[in-house]
């Protein structure tokens, strides 16, 4: 263990330790992620070793130059430049004085002209009087990670397609036998074969969910933006679940407010359909409401039910693929546990946010925040301070 490590583990960082600029510089230089600091005019004043390795620029080549000066050239995935605008996370954090909430993936330019995907975190730097004197950006090369994710997704999609042909034969033959195409069968045979058919249908649902998830997990997954009448999407979703709700004696209340936004109507439909499907599935009495409102450039849709609810301890996990909340084993075997994971993918890819509030036995409230226009990455209305 080095002296530095001993010091950190033994004492955490105390004031005097932080006060020694040389130590701090060693730490920053040695970090595996690219770390650079800019002054008030966004001139680069510090450029660590990982920055050199990842971008190909030596510190001597960039120090003193503004970061927008053809160095990293951050763009979004569509190639739109983020420099010198509020779309640039560093620019924005220096403007607002707030650190970026979570790492943002952008494309960066290397010295050799190639582009790489980097995950970027930012924070403003303050002077002694609290005034903003610069900013820090930490970035990580995620190209390799993205490639692996893509390979995994394409493998998953290949395998899934391979599963569909055998399933077609299994289902088709069962259906022909049950429909009498092959002659008489006795009632016991019929009931067993019907079980087989139901199980085959379950497999089919699981395969379709897997395929969807694989599709939404591909890194280059892009939303086909077009003008969307959100009312129409929500009406269509609600209509789709009316019968099922009616059979259980539930009402679906729809409160709309003429929201037009940019998004992918098919994917939005799927996201809300998954939310409503859960609401209907896990509610036995009471009702379900879907409420949409526009707030400061965001569409806010609340899907509320009076169903079984979710244990608080499980809330952080429910958006994970394959995770299924426990409900006393009543519905063991139903669903694939991917519905909410898919909802999250869709909402994320629209630049939106998804929130859940729930308590066991007291129903659930899912809130979806969607920016009305694609590049609006401000903070969703309810998460702003003081509102």
């Amino acid at each position: 263990m080095s002296r530095l490590e001993e010091k950190i583990i033994g004492h955490a960082l105390d004031g005097s330790f932080l006060g020694n600029p040389e130590n701090l510089e060693s730490v920053l230089l040695g970090i595996n992620d690219g770390v650079y600091l800019v002054d008030r005019d966004r001139r680069i004043v510090f450029w660590n070793c990982a920055c050199e390795e990842i971008t190909g620029y030596a510190a001597g080549e960039v120090l003193g130059r503004p970061c927008s000066d053809n160095i990293l050239k951050h763009t979004d995935r569509q190639g739109n430049s983020l420099c010198e605008s509020e779309l640039c996370p560093l620019y924005r954090s220096m403007l607002t004085g707030a650190a970026g909430e979570e790492p943002l993936t952008v494309l960066a330019l290397k010295k050799d002209g190639s582009r790489l995907a980097v995950e970027v975190s930012v924070a403003p730097l303050r002077g002694e009087g609290g005034e903003i004197v610069g900013g820090v950006e930490v970035f990580r090369d995620v190209t390799r990670k993205n490639e692996l994710e893509e390979a995994r997704a394409s493998f998953l999609s290949g395998v899934t397609h391979e599963l569909k042909t055998p399933l077609t034969v299994i289902r088709g033959n069962l259906e022909m036998i049950l429909e009498g195409d092959t002659g008489e069968i006795n009632p016991t045979q019929r009931s067993f074969l019907s079980d087989n058919l139901e199980e085959a249908k379950r497999l089919e649902k699981l395969i379709n969910d897997l395929l969807d998830l694989a599709r939404y997990e591909t890194v280059e997954f892009s939303i086909e933006y077009q003008a969307v009448d959100l009312d129409k999407v929500l009406e269509r979703v609600a209509r789709n679940f009316l019968d099922e709700a009616e059979r259980k004696g539930l009402e679906i209340e729809l409160r709309l407010s003429h929201i037009r936004m940019f998004g992918d109507p098919d994917r939005l439909y799927q996201a809300f359909a998954n939310l409503l499907s859960n609401a209907v599935k896990y509610t036995e009495a009471g009702g379900i409401s879907v409420e949409a409102a526009a707030k400061k450039g965001w569409a806010v849709v609340r899907v509320k039910d009076s169903g079984v609810g979710i244990d608080e301890g499980e809330l952080p996990r429910i958006f994970e693929p394959f995770y299924r909340a426990h409900d006393g084993g009543k519905r063991a075997g139903e669903g694939s546990g991917m519905g909410l994971a898919i909802v999250r993918r869709i909402v994320d890819s629209h630049g939106g946010k998804l929130k859940v509030e729930s308590k066991r036995g007291e129903g659930s409230l899912f809130t979806v925040y969607l920016p009305l226009t694609p590049l609006d990455r401000t903070i969703p209305p309810e998460e702003e301070k003081g509102s």
Binding site: H161, G172, M176, D181
Partner: protein
């Protein structure tokens, strides 16, 4: 009853081909089978067929290529595509190339029959 319609089934998966052939025969169609795209094209050119059932994923020449060639010289021959690919863009591609119907796996045998009947008018 009118003379039975002849349907060419191009499907490289033997058990799926068997299922389709059984169902179509039972519903009164005459079935001829092709194991791959090349054979399908050849049979299509040399025999009188009233409709084609064509799998998209076949080795060597895939269903879309076969479809293009069939449509080039028999534009009015109904072709029904079978595919595991269920994304809208795949379905639209098939329909743009002139397929009459695009069934995604797993499809039901009766769906296929209904599709054929619609195309053959009876």
């Amino acid at each position: 009853m009118s003379e039975s319609k002849r349907v060419l089934v191009a499907e490289d998966e033997a058990r799926l081909a068997r299922m389709i052939a059984f169902k179509l025969a039972r519903e009164g169609f005459e079935v001829i089978a092709a194991n791959d795209g090349g054979e399908a094209l050849e049979l299509c050119m040399n025999r009188d067929v009233d409709a084609v059932v064509l799998d998209v994923m076949m080795p060597a020449m895939d269903g879309f290529q076969v479809l293009k060639r069939i449509k080039a010289y028999k534009p009015n021959l109904p072709v029904i595509m079978l595919s595991a690919r269920s994304q809208e863009k795949d379905i639209n591609y098939g329909l743009e190339l002139g397929a009459s119907c695009y069934l995604t796996k797993p499809f039901r045998p009766t769906e296929l029959v209904e599709c054929l009947r619609r195309q053959l008018g009876g």
